[in-house]
Symmetry: C2
Subunit: 269 residues, 2 copies
């Protein structure tokens, strides 16, 4: 059986200086450099594979400092502070001695408490009742995911109309399906196309500069979600002088909120 | 004229090794250690004061690794990557050789583009028409701010009722008023009391572990806002097994969205 493209992409080799060696993956190629979500998953994987790791990811912030060049990269994950049941990580990715990504992560041993999802899943049709888009993605990474747009898909015309609202709601999962884990969930948190394209129906140049992911799910919930679909919803809050933010949620088919995530994105014009 | 407590609190002394020496401030004391917002402001100030800084803050993520002890701290800010008009920072705060905070920041030279606030300010009474709460805060830092709760204030009774919704909306500013800048805005982004207290009407122990701030405002907007009020709104999205998130917005009286911010908070029980 062939390895899933996601597993190939996030694979890291432990180095003698305790850093990890990885490699960009053509399967997740974007316009310039790789899809940011897979880079985030690679950064997180340096924590997940680290022998000193305590607990599971609760938060991750990745800062995209420069477009990665196709080829190898080095990633270090340092436990800056280890408490009794929590741990804080500082992560840095380099190519040819230049920093291309900085990140921080927080891992914790979780225990059961009173819990509630306050942002509940919107009422939407079942995944099987939502058609797949036609054709292949214009960039390679798009083909690594299955997207079924419930609302707020790509504008019917790139005519510069201000649509006033940037919200998108869609079912999504890895293509081919792959059992959900923290690394793939990190990548899935970044699949939403830029809110400014939806809002303005114009393909302005963009690039995510920082993304934060809060993992509300633990391993048993991810295992229970398996290869099922996630419902994703994303919307911008403000567009101002070259930067906009977008906030998103990912629920599983059972309606459990697995992730809330936010990012700030550069845009031109 | 006496220095404002905020200026005293965020003051840093440049050290010969290019780090900064700061000191916790009793004026911003919390239950255990100082108010996290002022610690975030201190971390950001190490970037703001750095001689190599390029541009203004666009994003800041601070991770609270441990409660700060009352006393001095050391903070380093390193420009990990400097591009033509953007810069990525890695920040670390230590006390007695132990890491108490990690952070990353992104600064940029902004230029005017098409802009829009998609999350518009809710319709609320004017600040002067909203009464001040009675009495002093139970912790000292509360007295450094003026809060006028429009909705979702502290529960009338701490009786453990699940209120179902955790939203709070309030007018706020420094007390006494102080012209807004990036450091004070970082602190103001953390003033919302924990959403779980609002949701459950129970004072469970809590502690923020990570907070991200997106600054949509630039210096001219902050100057125009001056000592005016900000309207803040905060709400949780999920509470799960010891951690909940809260998302918040801060608008000025002119209705401009200055900040969107998110945090993940530990809670017990």
């Amino acid at each position: 059986m062939t390895q899933h493209a996601c597993d190939t992409a996030i694979a890291l080799q432990h180095q003698s200086d305790n850093s990890y060696l990885g490699h960009t993956s053509p399967a997740y190629g974007n316009m310039v450099g790789p899809f940011g979500g897979i880079t985030a998953a690679q950064a997180l994987n340096a924590v997940l594979q680290h022998p000193q790791r305590l607990g599971e990811p609760v938060s991750l912030t990745v800062n995209f400092c420069a477009a990665l060049a196709d080829g190898p990269f080095n990633v270090t994950a340092r436990p800056a502070r280890t408490n009794r049941s929590t741990q804080h990580w500082v992560i840095e990715m380099q190519q040819q001695g230049q920093t291309v990504l900085t990140a921080t992560a927080f891992t914790a041993l979780r225990r059961e408490t009173w819990s509630a999802d306050e942002h509940t899943m919107p009422t939407v049709p079942l995944p099987g009742d939502v058609p797949l888009p036609e054709g292949r993605g214009r960039v390679e990474w798009i083909n690594r995911y299955e997207f079924r747009f419930v609302s707020g898909g790509f504008p019917a015309a790139w005519d510069g109309t201000d649509h006033g609202v940037s919200r998108t709601c869609l079912w999504l999962r890895d293509n081919p399906p792959r059992p959900l884990d923290f690394a793939s969930l990190a990548a899935l948190s970044d699949v939403f196309f830029p809110r400014i394209w939806r809002r303005r129906a114009t393909l302005v140049p963009i690039g995510t500069v920082s993304m934060t992911i809060y993992f509300h799910a633990d391993s048993p919930q991810l295992q229970a979600t398996g290869t099922g679909y996630l419902l994703g919803q994303a919307q911008a809050q403000a567009f101002r002088d070259g930067y906009f933010d977008q906030t998103a949620q990912l629920w599983n088919e059972a309606g459990e909120l697995l992730v809330t995530t936010h990012q700030v994105v550069y845009y031109k014009e």
